[in-house]
Assembly symmetry: C2
Homo-oligomer: 124 residues x 2
């Protein structure tokens, strides 16, 4: 109710604080087509499903209007990424993505060796 | 001059096509403060400098208005990332980032083990 300025628009703890290495990241960079019908619902459904994958840590996403989208999902191990890759609903969604939602994309699966996080000290 | 629809708003080849592994990624996820004066100039200057680092491959960035920003820089080897980390102008910019531009951030340095790219076939 007070008049304080809101400086943190993201509702969840975001970006995901860096876990202790080693862990894995799946970096998905994409250029969307103009044909995004059904995308939001599918993304929400997949976002709920991936949280049940053993070893899932978290996810960060950003999207420049009219430009690139980048999602980074963090997993404790390669088995978690592999399980998510084989998930039946995820595979159906990826096929629809190639048919409809994406002009281009790249996927990079990588083992994190170093990481750190910064958080601004709360002003006095 | 023709009336064809423009479906690829990004000027450069983007997202960066996945190189042959192994290579390295530096994933930088951040929540900006409202105090972004000087940021754009610095980002442009650093973007020119990093291209001179031996082993630099490319970079992808996305930014949700009012939300997260994610940048992914690709390097052939860890030495390139290390050289960029020690770059004097880069270090000054990072210090200013902690003072002014970033509410929070995480940095993940990772070795890419698998990757692939998709490009929509040109319509007939």
């Amino acid at each position: 109710m007070s008049d304080h300025p809101i400086t943190t628009p993201a509702p969840a703890p975001s970006p995901t604080p860096a876990p202790e290495p080693p862990y894995y990241v799946a970096v998905f960079t994409s250029l969307p087509t103009p044909h995004q019908s059904g995308y939001a619902e599918t993304a929400e459904r997949l976002g709920a499903l991936v949280r049940d994958i053993p070893g899932y840590i978290g996810e960060d996403s950003a999207r420049t209007p009219g430009g690139l989208a980048i999602s980074v999902a963090y997993f404790r191990d390669l088995e978690g990424i592999e399980r998510w890759r084989r998930d039946a609903e995820h595979r159906v969604a990826k096929e629809r993505g190639r048919q409809q939602w994406y002009e281009r994309y790249s996927l990079h699966i990588a083992r994190v060796e170093h990481s750190h996080s910064f958080r601004r000290p709360t002003p006095a």
